[in-house]
Symmetry: C2
Subunit: 325 residues, 2 copies
């Protein structure tokens, strides 16, 4: 039994994961439940509270032992005030002061952080990014997010919004991302971008195999396009290559601006392996300075879907260690 | 008379500027001479040494009072070893260990830093960037460079090469910059890019007024294009607007990645005023997150062509203060 434990809550659109760690960061409790976002704000908050209590119990401790709570939440959020402002994948959530609510319900101080920032910090503290003083985490799935570590600390910028790697501009013209930005990395290289471009080709009668795969498991997504390409559909493969090349322009910008020791890449698109990463690395090499490219290690993330909750624990522990919570 | 003075040397392709500062950073000596790069490495180094001795004398002190020397030098340089590796605007300089040579000739420790990094640090310490904890400096002239300040310190990355803002990728296809990168900010928005695009149009019989202005003062440069646009040549104005829009995509990437409190913009293109900055700011607003855009002040640099030498002094003073020199 330990005196100080930390709760890390990963609030996602489909799942809530709560991890409990002791004072050394060792995980001693683990509860995972569906978000059931349709329950609305109050219903989901009840589920967060219950899952946290369950995880604390599993850890063999009592609620008062919780020193602090970190929450990995989908952006945009106001990290200073602890408010979830307007997340696209949590319908009905507008300006929810989640940090204050959890503090009241669980009787421990709570802090919110952007999910990709939490994942990046977790990879730095516990995963593939250990030992890199300056690193950039990139997660590429339906969206593209990032987290920046500078001098071994999460860099959050002037108002907590830094690290929006998915919104590096990589094309002067082009479609928009969900946030309305033209030609950003997310608009050009995300899973959503791949599916959008595939749907357009299917509407023109192309990508027959992709269409057939998607029909069996709708809606059409990037994994369908990848599977079709593996089954020999050349045009499907071209879409993956194209996304990979755009991803590479984003990596080049990261290398030229940050000169990091490592870029840690996670997210579902990484499951496509060399199909997406080979063109990405080729373009990153072509468009970055040779020395900076040689200095950077591009590595796959290690922590999978536990990264958000682990990072939330790290955020809470660091805040307490700094005497700020 | 002060016990500790600092020399800041700005080594440029056309001029050498040496500033001497006292322990409080106050400038007490100032010597400016042409580089005469055609003299070659040894000849230019002799000029640097003589200019430094002159500036020290002007400051009313003796050479032994110099505590440390900072040098603002054109990249690429190896800041760790103090070597100028291969600067495009100093012909014949290859792997010159300038820090060691100056230390031997002037009997004080010397440190090299990239010129745009020096300028950015100077704006933060003494200029338009004072008081901003996180800021990005961008200089747009024939090339585009940058310097990143994080937590009030120059951020140089894993191996001293961070801050290459001119090589953020802003176009998926396009011409290359001098370093061979396709579609980077420097390839699309620099003075060199504007002149290149103007020359192509002139070769097609367009931009008659620009061509006439350039004939009187060759070679054709971005200032000629700007002057023609002010005299009513619409197509010349369109080139400036286009460069401004690309500059804006670069600013959007900076805002989304760094969430800085300020972006300080310097360099010759700023003299074009709203012609280039209005489209830049419009695009930066459109392509960045609203809160992050609202949080950033975009401000003109203050220090002009003294920024490099002032920044070199700041680099040297900080190195001494850290006990590292």
């Amino acid at each position: 039994m330990t005196d100080h434990i930390y709760a890390g809550i990963d609030l996602g659109g489909t799942k809530i994961l709560v991890l409990i760690a002791d004072d050394n960061g060792k995980v001693i409790g683990d509860t995972r439940i569906p978000t059931e976002a349709a329950l609305g704000v109050d219903g989901v908050i009840n589920r967060i509270v219950e899952a946290t209590k369950d995880a604390v119990q599993e850890a063999g401790v009592e609620l008062p032992a919780v020193r602090a709570i970190g929450v990995s939440a989908p952006g945009p959020i106001d990290t200073v005030k602890g408010i979830i402002t307007d997340p696209p994948n949590l319908h009905g959530w507008h300006n929810v002061p989640l940090a204050r609510i959890l503090q009241e319900r669980l009787d421990a101080p709570a802090i919110l952080e952007n999910d990709a920032n939490c994942q990046g910090l977790a990879e730095h503290e516990y995963g593939a990014g250990r030992g890199f003083r300056h690193m950039v985490f990139v997660t590429a799935s339906t969206g593209i997010g990032g987290g920046i570590i500078i001098d071994n600390e999460l860099y959050v910028g002037a108002s907590g919004a830094a690290g929006e790697i998915g919104h590096l501009v990589v094309a002067s013209e082009g479609p928009t991302c969900g946030a309305g930005h033209i030609g950003c990395l997310e608009a050009m290289a995300s899973g959503t971008a791949i599916a959008r471009d595939a749907a357009a080709l299917i509407a023109q009668g192309q990508l027959v195999r992709t269409a057939r795969i998607a029909e069996h498991n709708p809606p059409l997504d990037a994994a369908d396009v990848f599977r079709a390409s593996q089954e020999g559909e050349t045009e499907a493969g071209a879409l993956i290559t194209r996304a990979g090349r755009y991803l590479g322009t984003g990596l080049a910008s990261i290398i030229n601006a940050f000169n990091p020791q490592a870029i840690i890449i996670g997210g579902g698109l990484i499951n496509m392996g060399d199909a997406i990463m080979a063109p990405a690395i080729e373009v990153a090499r072509d468009r970055s300075f040779g020395q900076s490219f040689n200095d950077v290690q591009i590595i796959e993330s290690e922590l999978g879907d536990r990264a958000g909750a682990l990072g939330a624990i790290a955020v809470a522990r660091k805040k307490v260690a700094a005497g700020a919570m």
